[in-house]
């Protein structure tokens, strides 16, 4: 049987990927350049008995998303820069209350209204540090339309497995370009559902660590009754200010990601075997970087690319290892040096770091990268 194929935008692929993952709930608010996700899901979700709601604002959309997720649904929202800023308090709520959901944020120019139709990669720090307080973050970076589809499925898997909000951060180029994609057959990609409680309702505690760092989550309306709050809490979900509980809970919520970092962090190494220079790239910028690496190789320069697929947690171990090997990193990105900071942190002065930074709404082209590769001493 031939595979079902399509010629889709990244945003449309995201919507179809969500359906593949079993998403039955979408809450959003219109914002350029992510609105196609809403439009496709407003058509498709009711066809499978799912629910689509357009809320009164970005904050309301995030709140409804968390409510739907607590009632047992796999839930998605889509937004862009200003919307991501508005959603931050409740992303933190999702972190502390440990509610699985996926936040698909198309990166456009900023700050504030910025350049709504221009591409950018300047929300990577906002995804990590936008909400207050200590918390773990998972953020995925697709570089193609097919990868957007597949990464949404993976984002749902990670959200459900680790009981937390997960970000998918395409830049506007990936979100709006059209490419051929294959719709995945049932069973072709892994689909993970959250672990349901194995104990009867009378014994259930929503944050019971005897089941490990990711306690099972019951759904409202499934026979289990329990309390959920944004306050620091005890294993039974009720508020506490007891120092030993608060410290242990905060550490556990970060540990559930850090202890599984090798499983969560995905990346691509391209022509790095003998490389003396490494281009660290992500999203659409990695497409220019791949072209640049091939061109530079033809000119006899030993260069490769490390493509970030999981931006958070950052691939520290891999960049640290590369820093021992290469003499320089080139970090092209559509912001004024956000990934560069992370590469600097990991490289610890062991390699030269050159950034290529554009925030003018234009993509970084291969020529710029080749030029920079030649500057490495």
């Amino acid at each position: 049987m031939s595979k079902k194929v399509g010629f889709l935008q990244g945003n449309e692929a995201a919507a179809h990927g969500a359906l593949y993952a079993g998403c039955k709930f979408f809450a959003g608010y219109p914002i350029t350049p992510s609105t196609e996700v809403s439009e496709v899901l407003s058509i498709e979700l009711p066809k499978v008995g799912g629910k689509f709601i357009q809320m009164e604002d970005e904050i309301g959309a995030m709140a409804a998303l968390l409510g739907g997720a607590l009632a047992g649904q796999k839930a998605l929202t889509s937004t862009s820069g200003p919307g991501l800023s508005l959603k931050q308090e409740l992303i933190g709520y999702g972190c502390i209350a440990e509610i699985p959901c996926v936040v698909y944020n198309v990166m456009r120019g900023g700050p504030s209204t910025g350049m709504p139709t221009g591409p950018s990669q300047s929300d990577v720090m906002c995804a990590k540090w936008g909400t207050h307080g200590d918390h773990a973050t998972i953020a995925l970076m697709p570089a193609s339309v097919q990868e957007t589809y597949d990464m949404i499925v993976r984002a749902f898997n990670l959200a459900e497995k680790y009981r937390m909000p997960v970000h998918v951060l395409p830049d506007e180029i990936v979100a709006h370009m059209r490419e051929r994609i294959e719709f995945r057959e049932p069973g072709e990609l892994e689909v993970i559902d959250r672990t349901a409680p194995s104990v009867p309702p009378s014994e259930y505690k929503p944050y019971d660590t005897k089941f490990g760092d990711v306690p099972p989550l019951a759904a409202f309306g499934s026979g289990y009754k329990f309390h959920v709050t944004g306050l620091n809490k005890l294993p039974d979900g009720f508020p506490t200010t007891k120092a030993e509980y608060v410290q242990a809970e905060e550490e556990r919520q970060i540990r559930k990601v850090t202890a599984n970092i090798d499983e969560i962090v995905e990346f691509e190494e391209f022509k790095l075997e003998d490389a003396e220079i490494c281009v660290v790239a992500y999203g659409s910028t990695s497409r220019s970087a791949r072209y640049a690496v091939n061109e530079a190789r033809e000119q006899g320069i030993k260069v490769g690319m490390f493509r970030i697929k999981t931006f958070w947690p950052f691939p520290d171990k891999q960049i640290k290892a590369l820093a021992e090997k290469v003499k320089g990193f080139i970090v092209p990105e559509m912001n004024l040096g956000m990934c560069s900071l992370e590469v600097e942190r990991c490289a610890q002065g062991k390699a030269q770091i050159l950034g290529i930074n554009r925030v003018d709404g234009e993509p970084i082209n291969p020529e710029q990268i080749i030029e920079k590769i030649k500057e490495v001493k």
Binding site: K51, E56, A63, L66, L70, Y224, T229
Partner: protein
């Protein structure tokens, strides 16, 4: 036989956080009596709140309870109700939480007419943060941030709810304790978005700044200003000056949101 409140109270969660003289406990008892009169199944009932003194209420009740962020109760609850329309969804919160930071979600829940009941405990003040003025603090009154008297006009929550499209709106007071359960029960039974405003007192942060000598004086004031809607029909505008109407103020039939969305699913062919 005395009513058994413990049936709906979570074991081990009392005493509550509310100050002596606060009316929130009276409203909680009314809610419990209402739930009992309707035989609400605990596992099928979600109680959702925002932030503030009143928003701590759900923690004491033995149901699916969700203590959300400041102002966001109606939006979280909308998600729960959309995902599980068969659940009873009750919202609880204060006047600042519901009509200031949560005002947008409040009016849109009214507009959608989604089948939930919102109990607003209006004590005219932000109590938990120490008594700053809320959108319901009367003009001229004192709060910790209106030391020279409040220059703002206050909201009429019931009129706001009616204007925004709520299909059931009622008002009671913490003094008229025996009416609270009846108003809440009727609101829960009503199909659509129902709002029950309960005029309440905050002796700690509001009363003492506004020359109320005691809780009894604050309760007596609630008694004096309240006029049942039926009684008001026979009163002149002059007699109604400074009074507040209580009872069921508004009740209409209007399409309910989850039922309307079920039709969307049907049109899309999703119920096969």
């Amino acid at each position: 036989m005395a009513f058994d409140y413990e049936k709906y109270i979570r074991p081990g969660k009392l005493p509550h956080i509310w100050c002596p003289g606060c009316g929130h406990g009276i409203v909680m008892k009314g809610l419990i009596r209402a739930m009992d009169s309707l035989n609400l199944v605990k596992e099928e009932t979600a109680i959702v709140s925002g932030i503030g003194c009143a928003s701590r209420l759900p923690g004491y009740i033995d149901c699916c309870t969700l203590h959300t962020a400041h102002g966001r109760a109606a939006a979280f609850a909308t998600g729960v109700k959309m995902a599980k329309p068969e659940m009873n969804v009750i919202l609880v919160g204060g006047d600042g939480d519901g009509t200031a930071i949560g005002g947008n979600h409040f009016i849109h829940a009214c507009r959608r007419n989604i089948n939930m009941t919102y109990i607003i405990l209006n004590n005219y003040i932000y109590g938990m943060t120490g008594g700053q003025f809320s959108p319901c603090t009367p003009t001229g009154h004192k709060a910790s941030t209106t030391p020279y008297g409040n220059p703002d006009p206050g909201f009429d929550i019931a009129k706001l709810a009616i204007g925004a499209g709520a299909s059931f709106v009622a008002r009671g007071t913490a003094f008229h304790a025996n009416q609270i359960d009846k108003l809440i029960a009727e609101a829960i039974q009503h199909k659509g978005f129902s709002v029950v405003e309960i005029l309440d007192d905050c002796p700690t942060t509001y009363g003492r700044r506004n020359k109320y000598k005691s809780v009894i004086e604050m309760m007596n004031r609630l008694k004096e200003v309240a006029v049942p809607v039926k009684a008001a029909e026979k009163m002149t505008a002059e007699q109604l000056q400074g009074k507040v109407l209580t009872g069921v103020l508004h009740k209409v039939e209007r399409p309910e949101y989850c039922e309307e969305y079920a039709k969307v699913i049907e049109r899309a062919g999703g119920n096969k």
